[in-house]
Every structure is written in C-alpha cells, then in structure tokens.
Amino acid sequence: MIPALFYLQWQSFRNRLVTRFKRLKQPKYLFGAIVGGLYVYFYFFRYLFHQGYANGGRAAVKLSVSPEHLLLFELGGALALFLIVLLAWIIPRERAALTFTEAEVAFLFPAPITRRNLIHYKLVRSQLRIVFSALIFSLISRRFGGNFWVHALGWWLILSTLNLHFLGASFARTLMLDRGISNWLRRLLVLGLAAAMVASVWLWAKQTLPALNSADIANLDSILDYAQRLLTAGPALYLLYPFRLVVRPLLAPDTAALFSALPPVLLIFLLHYLWVIYSDVAFEEASVEASQKLATRIAAVRAGNWQAAGKKQKARRPWFKLSPTGPLPTALLWKNLLGIGQAFSPRLWIVLILVVVVAGFSLANGGHNQNLSSVAAVIIAFALSYSLLLGPQLLRLDFRRDLPQADVLKTFPMRGWQIALGEILAPVVVLMAFQWLLLLVGAGLIFCLPGKYEALALAIATGAAMLLPVLDFLLLLIPNAAVLLFPSWIQTGKDSSRGIEATGQRLIFALGQMLALLLALVPAAVAFIGVFFLLKFALGPAAAVPLASLAATVILAAESGLGVMLLGKLFERFDVSEEHTS
C-alpha cells in the first residue's frame, strides 16, 4: 500500500511542477517568473553563488562567532524551542487530526490502508514543506556565515523534530481527552509543570548565584552573561539540554562538530518517530472534520473572502439602515461594510473615538508634556502616511474581493459606473474615518505645541482632511482597474497562485501601480504648488495651504470621477466567460 501512497505523492508533485513549467508559455507567467527569479536571486542566491561568498559568507558581514557566542545562540535557540513545545501542549484544544484534502479523505479513508500507513503518508507529505522551509531558512541564516548545507541539515532536523513533536502532542492530547482529562485540566497540569521548572531554576539561582543587581542588567553584555550563568548550570542545564541537542547541528562551526552533534539529535528524532507511529489514536473522524474546514477555507479564499477563510461568519449589525429605494451604489457600500469583519464594528469606532478624545484632552491639558505631544504628532504623521500606503492594499472590500462574484454583479440592473462606485466606496469610507480620527487627535495635539505653529498646523490638518479621501479613492481606483484589466494577474482570491512567477507578478504590479499613481498625482501637485505660491504672499501660508489643498482636491476628485467612469466601462466590458476560460 505504501508504494501507492508514494506514487500519489510523487505524481502530485511532478504534475504540479509540470503545470508550472507549461504555463510559462503564457507571457504573464513568463515575465512573472523572470522578475521573480531575479528577485529571489538577488535576495537569496547571490550570497550562495557569488565568488566572494562561496566559503563561509560575505567576509565583511560575517559574524565572528566565538565559543561563548555559540553557547549563547544555542541557549537562545533551546529556549525558543522550549517555548514552542510548551505552547503546543497549552494552546490547541482540538482532537488529533491529520489534515488531509477532501480528495485524500474520499480515496484513502475508505481504502484498506492501515492507520500507521496513513501517518507515514502524512509524514512524507509534510517533508515537502519542511525541506522547502529548511532551504529558505538556510538561505537567510547562511548570510550570517557558515556552510549552507550544514544550515540546511540543521534546519531540517529542527523542523522535522518539531513536526513529529506536534503530531505526538496532538495524539497525547486526544488520549488525555479520551481518558477524561479536559483541555483546561491538561493546560493547568502543563502550566504547573512549567511553573515548577521555572521555580526550580529560580530557587537554584537564588541559592547559588550572587543576587541580581543593577550591574547585571546595565547593558546587553552583562544581561547575556547573567543569562549564560543561569542557563548553563543547575536545573536549567538539564531542562534545556534536549532542546540544545536539537539546535546544536545548526550551529556546528565545522564538519567535525556537526558529526559529533548528529547522533543525539538523530536519537531524539527516532524517539519522536516511534512515539508517533506507536500511538494508537483514532484521528480519522477529526481529520474528516478538519479536511472539510480546510475545503471551506480554500473555497472562501478562492471566492476572494479571506476573512471568511479564517473563521466562521457571524451575523453583524449593518452600519446603517438600507432603505429599499435610493441611489444604487449605496447598496454595494452597505453590503461591503457588512463584509468588513468584526474588527471594524461600529462599537470599535465608538471606543476608538472615546480613547482619542480622552487622550487628546489629557495631552492638551498637560502643558509640560510638549515633547510627548511632538512625539505623538510625529507618530500620527507616520500613521497617516502608512494608512495611505498600506490601507488600499489591506482593505480589499472592492472588486478584488467581489470579482469571483462578477457574474452575480452582472445580473444587477446597474450601470457600470454605479457598480464601480459602490464597490470602491467601502474601503474609502473606512480609511477616511480612520484618517480623520488621526487628524482629530493631531488637531488636539496642535494646542500643546508652541503657539507660532498653531495656525499653520491647523491649516495643514484642514488641507489633509480634504485631500486624504480623494487620495484614498485614487489609490483604490488603480488596483481595481488593474484587477479588471488583468484579472488573472492579480490575486483576487480565486487565482491564489504561488511560486516565483506569482512573486514576480506582484512585483511588476506594485511597480505599475506606483507609476500610475505618480502620473495621476502630477496635475494635482502642479495645482497645489501654483495656488500655494500665488496666495502665500497675499494671504499668508496659513490660508494658502487649505486653498491650495482645495485646488488639488478638485483636480483629484475630477480624476477620480473619470476613473470611476472608466472603471465602470471596464466592468461592463469585462467578459466573465473569457476570464473563466483563461
């Protein structure tokens, strides 16, 4: 039976690879692969193949790892592993479930395959992911020095052992549940055990090490020195020892050290393997449920709804009452705001406003806190900039989510521009609300700053309040136009392609979007500068800024209006069938 499972694994891998190569015939994948390949080469592989870096990394940045440092790295790694393992015993609450696809469940579960063989199949399949992750991690860690293949082997051992441990822990968890030990009781037991370990280390340190004083935490070196003394003797030495053994091959400075580090870790690996294989736990039922959940998640992602992919959808109260008659785009705004997720509920906004108002008042009243106010103002300026940069990318409550439902939208008796406007409004409204909230705080902080800037700062805030919504609109128009012009290039959810070519496609589009935005901003920037310098001398900068912003806003609004009309035309011409056949 095992050969059949290997055959399935190998053929799936091979066919996936062949499909990837075949689709390079299409320019969109070919260009994506070229750009993605260049990116991967310059980011990772340059360090691997470049002559100067061939033996042990770039000399200039290579860390000179002393035995003390090596020990510290080993301790740090062991501590991290210990925490990961601890969490694996505390956080999960489900029964053991090996995640299979629905097809695997349908074919393998009714087939005469032993449970052990299913576990073997699962382990072999997880190796693909582990080997890939180990290579990527090695490409990164190798840049700090060391041999690439030693790193790859080290990472592979760590990830494989962790994988086995997670599986074994899930089996043990299920056995406990079967024997009446609830999740909370298990968590209490594990936390109690962890607390006992920490207490033993603390007691030992109290009795053996000199009392902790300010000199021990004066700088990083003294902290590390104290940590080393704490973790390399007494109970911590024994508690962390198995974890240190697992980390050791990764940090091996030479081949001899690697070979001496291998036997213990291989023994740990083998023990984990035996633990998993000889655990007699029924995982089938939970696996069927898990595979269904996985299928639902995949379906949700393919339908463009990433939020639904994460959790079960709950009924939400609409942001406003939708009357049955009135402007049609409002219906799409209403719908998309409902789909925004729990994170942006009206309750959250009320709490945010309250927090902002209280914080603003306390800052404004604390006259001595001018420095604090300046720092807060800088943070707000950064937050506003990031909301412009990242907001339109993160809030995909528009065509990027609804495109898989394009055939439904097409049946609506709405003009193209109405659909386009309705689709874009929701992210604009959310971003605008967030930005105006920040501006409100900023306006409050202005009163804490020295008086001579007050008028100008208020003028800038007013100008920003006018400009930001139209800028958001424009920034959202570009990816939405791109998704309708090149639907198969953009990740709308249904085409969640991965790999180098997808990375390249994203890079090409990021560049294209930036170019389009710059072109769109030029007329508004010219208008702003022109009006500002015209009025600056007559009315002063405090009056010139809002008026110049108004001029730029008008230009951007006109561009946005044209953009919506164009987007509407694009949607009307968007041939759902052609997209499906591509």
Binding site: Q307, L322, P324, K335, T411, P413, V576
Partner: protein, 255 residues
C-alpha cells in the same frame, strides 16, 4: 417576452453557441436540453446579460439586452445551479440588499411571504454558512423572485433539493408561469422537462437541432408519434446517426 435572433457566442475559435434563434411567450415554460458542452449554460448567461454575445440580438420584455441592459435586467431573474450568495450577509440582509438593487419599496411584505412559501422563515437571521445546500437554493430563489420578474431562467433548478423541495420547486415554477412569467429551464433531468415544460429546445454543439412542443418533437424524431419518451427522443436527436443510442439498462447483479 424573450426574442433571440441568430445568437452566436465564440470563445476564440471555439463556437459555444451558433446562430440560435427562438422566442418565448408569457406563460410558456421552455426546456433547454442537450448533452454536456452543448451550450446551454452559455446561452442562459448570454440571455441574462452576464456575458456578451459575439453576434445576434436578444430582447427581454421588449428591451435589448445589449443596448438597454438595465431595462432588461430589471425584468429578469437568473438562478444558477450553484446558489451564489454573499457569505457575510444574513438571509434577511440578502433580501434587503436585493430590494435596494431592484428598488422594491414593499420588500418586507413580499420577502416575508417568500420566506414562508419557501419554508425558510425561521432562518431569517442565519448566515449562508449555517444553511444546507437546499436552503441556500431557496434563499437564492427568494432573492430572485423578490422583484416579481417577468422572465426567469433556471440552470439545473433541482440540484441539491430533497423530494419535498423538488415538488415545491416544480409547483413554484408552474405558479410563476401561470402568473404570466416566461420561463427557461436548462436541465439534464428529462423527466422534469417532460413534466413541466410546454416547449423543448434541444441543443447540440451549440446548434439548435429541435424546437417545439413535446408532441411536435416526438413527431419529428420517432417513427410512430406518441410512443416515445423524451429520453428516447433526446438520444435520437443528439446521436450522430439519428438512431436510438440509448445505453442498455444493465440488469442488477443478483447474488
């Protein structure tokens, strides 16, 4: 109510539908049948204005689907085989949303009646994820019927319904037809077509090979009129030679 003239849809060099013409009067129920890949769904999608035809004209309730798409779409409803719902709207929010799209002022009364009729009134606040396949289908139907369409297209309307649901669906289709709606049903379930359709249109490779009442089609494809089922006619009409190619029914293996 529906006039189709020389409808042609090409995907590159592949012809999905070729020179298809037919018309449908109020109260008529047309069964659109044909083997897989015959062009049934493509035809319905063109008729609903979802995809543009490459050539030809389509008029729905007097409105050209290309030049007056809004007017045409206000009069029609299209039910796909797989109910397409927004998974973050409740049952009632779906009706609220559709009411605004189709501008139905008294949607609350109509919506309540539809939910009662379709027996999902108790699911008013449920999310699509909490509904069974059949209930989702019912919700999609409630949304489609909210604006009292004059033209209704069904693509495999019985998929996923239980026997009672099937009975109710048939009754509902006939009720709309009696109310004056023109209905097109695309289905592989020939007994459904035989039972509720007043006319049948057989497509093969995108071309119309038969169009008429059951009696007319039976006369055309059988040696002796009236002695043949739609299934038999279907096999004769869609086979290459025109002879009956119905696969033999295999006897059940007895142990």
């Amino acid at each position: 109510m529906v006039q189709v003239e020389a409808l042609t849809k090409l995907y590159g060099e592949f012809t999905a539908v070729s020179e298809l013409s037919f018309s449908l009067q109020p109260g008529e129920v047309l069964g659109l049948v044909g083997p897989n890949g015959a062009g049934k769904t493509t035809t319905l999608r063109c008729l609903a204005g979802i995809i543009p035809p490459t050539r030809g004209s389509i008029r729905v309730a007097g409105c050209d689907i290309i030049h007056d798409a809004i007017g045409a779409k206000r009069q029609l409803a299209f039910f796909t085989d797989e109910p397409r719902l927004f998974d973050y709207l409740t049952v009632w929010q779906h009706l609220n949303f559709v009411a605004r799209i189709y501008q139905v002022p008294d949607y609350e009364k109509i919506g309540r009646e539809l939910l009662e009729e379709l027996e999902i009134a108790n699911k008013r606040d449920a999310m699509p994820g909490e509904l069974s396949r059949g209930m989702k289908q019912k919700l999609a139907i409630a949304c489609g019927l909210l604006h009292s369409p004059k033209v209704i297209y069904f693509d495999e309307p019985l998929t996923g319904l239980d026997p009672l649901g099937i009975r109710r669906m048939k009754d509902s289709i006939l009720k709309r037809a009696r109310g004056g709606a023109a209905i097109i049903i695309s289905s592989h379930l020939l007994h459904l077509v035989e039972e509720i359709c007043s006319r049948v249109l057989i497509l093969k490779n995108g071309q119309k090979i038969a169009d008429g009442t059951l009696v007319e089609i039976t006369r055309k494809f059988s040696e002796q009129a009236g002695d043949t089922s739609l299934e038999e006619i279907f096999f004769r009409a869609t086979s290459e030679t025109g002879a009956s190619v119905a696969p033999p029914v295999l006897p059940l293996e007895r142990k």
